[in-house]
């Protein structure tokens, strides 16, 4: 299983896109821009709804309205983010896959945070109907906020290993 993973990583490193990102001066920063632009859309849409669920800030729209309005760009943001991430990963896949911070980020935190995000997005249609913040909504929003902060923390720690 692990052997297959390492073989796949080597394949990615040797791929045209992996090689491009790794060997050109401007490849890596450019692909980071894709990853970070997607992340900006992802965090912009997610955290805004979480803060609204927490009942902090303006109440021009309900959390349900906000979530519904931002739905499309939330998932477009994720697609851009994942594309950029995949290209970054491909450049030096064999080193990422053995990096504890990267493993924590992609292996544990991202799946948990994504799953929780799906739950929150679904449930916000119910919890987020009212102007006032419901206790379940507040807790859910807070958990999501903390989960995405932990993902960013793991990412920041990647260069340490």
């Amino acid at each position: 299983m692990y052997g297959a993973l390492v073989a796949f990583c080597k394949f990615l490193e040797g791929s045209p896109w992996g090689t491009f990102v790794r060997t050109t001066d401007w490849g890596y920063p450019l692909i980071q821009v894709i990853h970070f632009s997607g992340l900006s859309l992802w965090l912009g849409t997610n955290i805004t709804v979480d803060l609204r669920l927490l009942g902090i800030g303006k109440r021009r729209q309900t959390a349900a309205q906000l979530s519904s309005g931002l739905f499309v760009w939330n998932w477009i943001g994720l697609c851009i983010l994942v594309l950029g991430g995949f290209l970054l990963f491909s450049s030096t896949a064999t080193t990422y896959v053995t990096n504890p911070a990267f493993r924590m980020k992609l292996g544990v935190l991202v799946p948990v945070a994504l799953f929780w995000h799906l739950v929150v997005q679904q449930k916000t249609r119910v919890w987020g109907q009212a102007q006032e913040a419901l206790p379940m909504g507040k807790l859910a929003g807070l958990i999501e906020l903390l989960l995405w902060i932990s993902v960013v923390t793991a990412a920041v720690l990647i260069p340490n290993y």
Binding site: L30, S40, W73, W148, V156, N160
Partner: protein
Amino acid sequence: MWEALEHVHWVTVLGSTGWMYELVSVIHYFSTFFFIGTIMLVDLRILGIADRNQVISQLVDQLVPWTWIGFGFSIVSGFLEFATDAGDYSTVNPFRVKMLVILLGVIFALIVQWNVPKWNRLPVIPVGAKILASISLLLWVGSILAATELPALTGLG
């Protein structure tokens, strides 16, 4: 002056204590991408390709406070990171370019925000508004590029 800032006691403590610097980095990355995301969403709304069912001012009123709160966290955490290597950062062109692009981005974000009440009252969003929103969007993506090029070109950050 900037060189001297590097050697102030709390700055050297911040720069040499791993977890402190990492905490500041997390705050910087998180708040930066969050506030840029809120600006992007407003620009995309004005361009008519995001949240079209919502009145512009509704979305903008909801997002704008977070833009500037996020920006505040980003500037403060960014300054702290800058301080730890101020002598080097202040002399390299990529850093100056990054600051310039951010300044331009802030100006355009403000222009867009100030005009939203007026655009909101019009039956159709004017072309001028869309041009301004496009410039704002490009500048903020540009600021991300300037930030990623900084370590690539100088080894700093």
